[in-house]
Amino acid sequence: MSYAAVHEDDHHDHDHKPTGIGRWLFSTNHKDIGTMYLVFSLIMFFIGGAMAMVIRAELFQPGLQFVDPQFFNSMTTVHALVMIFGAVMPAGVGLANWMIPMMIGAPDMAMPRMNNMSFWILPFAFTLLLATFFMQGGAPAGGWTMYPPLVLQLGDGFPFLIFAVHFLGISSIMGAINIIATVFNMRAPGMTFMRLPLFVWTWIITAFLLIAAMPVLAGAVTMLLTDKFFGTAFFDAAGGGDPVLFQHVFWFFGHPEVYILVLPSFGIISQIIPTFARKPLFGYASMVYATASIAFLSFFVWAHHMFTVGMPLAGELFFMYATMAIAVPTGVKVFNWTATMWKGSMTFETPMLFAIGVLFMFTLGGFSGLMMGITPVDFQYHDTYFIVAHFHYVLVPGIVFGIISGVYYWMPKWTGHMYDEKLGKLHFWTSTISVNVLFFPMHFIGLAGMPRRIPDYSTQFTDWNMIISIGGFAFGLSQLILVWVVIKCIRGGEKATDQVWEGAHGLEFTLSSPPPFHSFTTPPEVTDATAHS
């Protein structure tokens, strides 16, 4: 509050924002880059969403209606790549860009130019990926996991796919390095590690996961590239290689990637639940250690994605128990969030509704994950709609809802205006009902044996598929409400106070709404009283 006022004074002389397109192209400001990340992610969310709509339209009835099977396979493949790398990851990085400097009392990110570069790589990467739709041989259609030898049959689009993945890897590694460098070197005096807001903690751990996992993916796709064009035989059985090796390397990246996606969402709801329960977070230290343990364990469970490829019994048992072990720190987190709400003076504004939605529905997705972690039963679930139900429960109501709750929570801080609470609540309820209509019945048809990634199905699955498709269309339409709320909030609305929410704590809520262009030019002093909520 007091330092916010100081800022406005000394900013008059050097706070000249560049104008026009140049402000965005050459931006080194953490807020502008954060905004670009978030807008980019929203656009990708709708592109990936449109692909999901094609999938659900085709699956509305058995038989082939709208698209040919090859294009259907491209839809499932590119939908996954766009949603994971284009929508969810950039949204997380966008929130980190906006919030981390404000939360730790820094003026900006540690490496602003690299920050600019890591954002601007993304549009190029997705141009490469989406351009494959117009090439000989079409877009990638062998599944987002890019298993050889199937992926090697892709036509002209193949090198574009590989280089797009390389670019995405470079972008997120640079983003991760920037976040760690910022948190390690630019904390305000008194902001010790154990006083960091939990969102910052989850992001440090996510950033380390990114740096450890993304290069392994880059290595795996490079091997695919040299197998196809330079005569190596990493995955080619005829040359002494083994296609199953790709699955090991891929999932060594792929499982930590799951936590790269979900940990920022955990961080967001750890900020929101204490605010609206008007109580400090229950078990702060245990939350930090639980997050770190989840990240550590995530490197020892990769083969649970491939129980059915053939493994020695000891291997199957090891990966089964390691997978079960992750439920322990995750259980600690769920317990702590629930305990934070216990006897709190709760109110249910939109961010809180979405955060509680995450808590409920992520846990549900977590349970179906435990079911699949049990090796013998996984043989029934493998490659059916049951796994589709599982990962969409953790990804959509678990992660996308977490990101949306963060957007509602911090939007008044960013724009200086309160969003329309009525529309926000409408968005929550339509999304929550439709997301369950969309994904819950997938458990049933999966257990009944409907395979994933196939454009046609046996007629006994028709009724549930129709219901699922209706849920899908409703969920897609509901997201337009979010767009409207955001536009309306940017344009105007009730003026937001500095603290925004009655129960909000933390450095970001001591700045004005909207905050000054450079967050903290004089570092604030952090004491136990002003530390984490």
Binding site: M111, P215, V216, A218, D236, D242, L245, H248
Partner: protein
């Protein structure tokens, strides 16, 4: 950019580069793991002398079945002369396979073996196999090829049947000389 930021960033970039290398280290690690555990049914190789010195368990008979596959890129026919054999553990046995090149070009093929159950592959060794080297077949040529193998007498009691599967692939560099010459000429002319 402050000095300490530079140091942090440098360390993290080195860490990222090491993890890229680690992806490649997983390749030999995986091969080693397959050797130790018999994963993917990779069978072993022994010398004739050692195989002959093995103890033969005349009280036990195990069944070895043969499965043959040809990768669609290879214009060959490939069959086992006998689909299964009963052998005593420790005795040297010989299986005969027939291949035929149905195309009008010489083609080089490479057979890749795999044995199930994977655990049995730790006790299954060959002294001689057509899969040890690539095989050249002239146009229309038909050839008999042999595998000489021995099932170790330490084979666990609960395994009574094994399936040895071979898949013939087109060897990676087996396009005939004429075509590759033409292609290189094309490549040169398109460059100039």
């Amino acid at each position: 950019m402050a000095q300490n930021t530079r140091v942090t960033a440098k360390k993290l970039f080195i860490f990222a580069a090491c993890m890229f290398g680690f992806g490649y280290v997983m390749v030999p690690m995986y091969d080693l793991l397959c050797d130790v555990t018999g994963l993917n049914g990779k069978t072993g190789e022994v010398s004739q002398v050692k195989a002959e010195s093995m103890h033969v368990d005349m009280n036990r008979l195990v069944t070895v079945e043969f499965d043959t596959n040809v990768n669609p890129a290879l214009p060959w026919k490939f069959k086992a002369s006998e689909f299964k054999m009963n052998v005593h553990p420790g005795e040297i046995a010989e299986a005969v396979f027939v291949v035929e090149n149905t195309s009008n070009k010489p083609v080089v093929g490479q057979a890749v073996p795999s044995l199930v159950p994977a655990l049995a592959s730790l006790y299954f060794d060959k002294t001689e196999c057509f899969c040890f080297t690539a095989q050249l077949l002239e146009p229309g040529e038909r050839k008999e090829m042999i595998v000489r193998y021995v099932v170790g007498s330490e084979l666990p009691e609960n395994i009574s049947t094994m399936t040895l599967s071979y898949t013939f692939f087109k060897a990676p560099d087996s396009d005939d000389v004429a075509v590759s010459e033409k292609e290189s000429v094309k490549a040169i002319s398109s460059k100039s």
